[in-house]
Amino acid sequence: MTVTETQDVAARPIGDPVLEASGVTMRFGGLLAVNDVNLTVREGEIVGLIGPNGAGKTTFFNCLTGLYKPTSGQVRFSGTPLPPKPRAVVRAGMARTFQNIRLFANMTALENVMVGRYCRTSAGALTSVLHGPKFRREEAATRARAQELLEFVGLGRSTEHLARNMPYGDQRRLEIARALATDPKLILLDEPTAGMNPQETRQASDLIFKIRDSGLSVVVIEHDMRFIFNLCDRVLCLVQGSALIEGTPEEVQSDPRVIEAYIGTGEDDEDEGPQDDVPGGEV
């Protein structure tokens, strides 16, 4: 993974589609949480997902990553349909972080990232007990890779800290490192800058550019408009479960419906949506 230039978004060539979600619909009883949403993410692209609270963004993420089985619709990854099983999704190459951090609190940072390697390793119980050559090789490789990823996100010095004792911003980075450990082609970030100060937010967007530059596609849910319009190649706006508009940051930013539905007509520019989330909608 290399650290290179960042902000220059427009100049990069856009590759083949990685993720194609078509007609994804999720119903909880009578409630239509996600209604017929289409999303295509191409290689090396950063796509933003915005919308007021309760718009169904996280539910849509959960449908993509197999935590929910969509009521209807299809998710294709690199051309093949994805079964709605988290493990299959991760193996296919899609990893995620959570809106409210869900680290393994009583494991060290390094162990957390090593868990992420689980799906790319295969040492079984027997070879683990016997310390067979395969186990030793794989364990050393897992450790090295985890260490490398921690350094990549800037946590190289905190490997032996318990996740629970780490500062908030570091926990967010650790979650990203853990997701990267699954060798994804596409990473879904659920509000990676929630609760961060401007400086931390800038670091977060640098990190996301860095991830993109290392060849991954990124989908980001965010409320911070400046953050998302600076970061993303394309933005999809969800309102009450349906796609309102999809386009470049400029298009979305200037669309009157977005301003009305999301940014609001008054002075408050964000976070003023209804506080009640879709039942079970936020993980």
Binding site: A95, R96, F104, Y118, C119, G154, H161, T182
Partner: protein, 572 residues
């Protein structure tokens, strides 16, 4: 952001050191002298009680224990002020002395009570007893007048390697000696006094930080520690000299420990609550019984024992899979209820497979008696041996076999714990949903935990059948499952040493405290309630787990972090 600065500086803002009183130190010395002099005097007129404490200038049994505690106090006093003062900068003499002083007072009060109960009244106490009590009180008083120190961090204490190894070996020897001596007490009062002695000495060593030093030394010489522990366990039968009762208890402890280690995978690592675990031990035992050459065995196939072990373990593991695959879809309380039911189903099946209600496999309530002793490689486990003039009985033979077994179980546990699989288990325990979203095979790993745990318990069961010589359904009641779980919780979930300790305590105490009869369970309940109140992380908690329960303890958090950092640096 990424620079984590360990707040070491906060620590050096020392809590105000309370100055001690000048009289404290000489008072303590006087106390030590009095205890030792008192112990050399007669404690009682009656030579028939408490292993004879009636002879002047010939300290015996319990008096020697008092002398040992006094000598420990002397060492700590000299570390406080005197020739060992260098030691005092590492070791918290004051806290250690407080434990020793209090323990000694308790010890002597119990001695006086014991004497007056055993031979009618305090009149039977000789001056020696009172002198020692006064000495004990002086030590306690001086300990409370001594200042509290700011100590150097024990993890920085470095000694020559030979010294560290020697201290590990010495600790193991002391453990072996204490265990052997305590187990040798058949009467109630000497046993209780021995327990008080052991408790006092252990508390003093912990409070003064000596154990922390040995612990750090043990981390640096992990292999030495393991070897020393096994050597001590191996030597235990040689201290018993043919006493079959204690060896049979010891054998039961090892079976219980091996089963508890299996359950430790399920509960401690994967975080699945299983209340019917004894069934897996039972299935192993029943397999061994039905395949044995007992006249009551119901299956004609008589394979060699090593095959039986494998079959028994595999049957248990299969049962684990069968019970696991449908029930692991429920979690938490529901899983506990289902497994509780499974344990009862096993017992009733064994009870009813007697030929009347189905095939005759288990002889129903009568069980399968008359299981012959094992014979491995021409060695019959029923025969006694004499090695170096020490009798080794039948139960010692089984003890050695079980020691081998538990060695394997511990190895399997610790290696699994530090592998991809173990990390997966802990991840599931921590956050099942997140683990799933990271690609961990949650269901498969839960099943694996059930199967491996059951496998280990089944192995232990096959040996147990031969050691007990009989199996019957009433050995595998719910209470046993509850005790297994209690051993893990008491000792410390997910740890090795803790679970071994918990299993030993829960198995030895009921056997040795038989004179309490029906109060035994009551005492246990009380013990567990007190434990959960004051030390919810268990006797030997991994320090990580300690943090979970004592989150407000900043100093501890810092200490744990530093320890980890040091360990990490050393690993590099």
């Amino acid at each position: 952001m990424t620079d984590f600065e360990t707040p070491v500086d906060d620590l050096s803002e020392a809590p105000a050191v309370k100055p001690g009183k000048p009289i404290a130190w000489p008072l303590g010395l006087a106390g030590v002298a009095l205890v030792i002099v008192g112990a050399f005097l007669s404690w009682s007129y009656d030579g028939q009680i408490l292993n004879d404490l009636s002879v002047n200038f010939y300290p015996n049994g319990l008096q020697n224990l008092a002398i040992i505690l006094a000598v420990l106090s002397l060492v700590l006093l000299l570390a406080e002020k005197g020739p060992l003062v260098k030691l005092g900068s590492w070791v918290d003499a004051t806290l250690g002395l407080r434990a020793l002083g209090l323990g000694l007072v308790l010890y002597m009060v119990l001695v006086l009570i014991a004497i007056s109960i055993e031979s009618d009244g305090l009149i039977n106490v000789n001056p020696g007893g009172y002198v020692t009590l006064v000495g004990a009180a002086l030590i306690a008083a001086s300990a409370w007048m001594l200042p509290l120190h700011q100590l150097r961090d024990m993890s920085e204490a470095r000694m020559p390697a030979w010294f560290e190894i020697l201290s590990i070996a010495f600790l193991m020897a002391a453990l072996l000696f204490t265990a052997a001596y305590t187990l040798a007490q058949d009467e109630a009062w000497p046993l209780i006094l021995c327990l008080v002695f052991a408790g006092t000495a252990a508390t003093a060593l912990f409070r003064s930080g000596v154990m922390s030093f040995v612990g750090h030394a043990g981390q640096r010489h992990r292999k030495v520690l393991t070897l020393a522990a096994f050597a001590a366990a191996f030597l235990f039968p040689f201290t018993q000299n043919g006493d079959d009762t204690n060896m049979s208890i010891a054998g039961a402890v090892l079976v219980f420990s091996a089963t508890a280690m299996g359950l430790n995978i399920v509960v401690g690592l994967a975080g699945l609550l299983d209340l019917g675990y004894i069934a897996f031990l039972g299935s192993g035992a029943y397999v061994a019984a039905t395949l044995s050459t007992s006249a009551f065995a119901t299956i004609g196939w008589k394979p060699p024992f090593l095959v039986v072990v494998l079959v028994g373990a595999c049957v248990a593991a299969t049962l684990g899979l069968i019970i696991g695959s449908p029930t692991l879809r429920v979690s938490g309380d529901y899983l506990a209820i289902v497994t509780l039911g499974f344990g009862e189903i096993f017992r009733f099946s064994m009870f009813n497979l007697d030929g009347n209600n189905g095939p005759n496999l288990t002889n129903g309530p009568n069980g399968i008696p008359g299981i012959p002793d094992l014979e491995l490689f021409g060695f019959n486990f029923g025969t006694d041996h004499t090695i170096a003039g020490i009798d080794l009985t039948r139960n010692s033979n089984y003890y050695f076999l079980l020691l081998l077994l538990i060695g394997g179980v511990i190895l399997a546990f610790s290696r699994l714990n530090n592998s991809r699989i173990g990390r997966g288990w802990v991840a599931i325990r921590e956050d099942e949903k997140a683990a799933e979203a990271m690609g961990v095979n949650v269901f498969g790993l839960k099943l694996l935990a059930f199967a491996i745990g059951a496998f280990l318990a089944g192995m232990a069961g096959t040996v147990k059948a031969h050691q007990d010589g009989a199996v019957s359904p009433d050995q595998y009641i719910f209470l046993e499952s509850a005790f297994l779980l209690a051993a893990i919780v008491l000792g410390g979930m997910g740890t090795i040493v803790g679970v071994l300790l918990g299993a030993t305590i829960l198995k030895v105490l009921p056997e040795k405290l038989r004179f309490f009869l029906e109060y035994r369970l009551l005492l246990f309940g009380l013990l567990l309630v007190l434990m959960m109140r004051f030390r919810p992380e268990g006797l030997v908690a991994s320090r990580r787990r300690k943090l979970e329960f004592h989150e407000e303890d900043e100093a501890l958090a810092v200490a744990v972090e530093e320890e980890r950092l040091i360990a990490a640096e050393e690993a590099k």
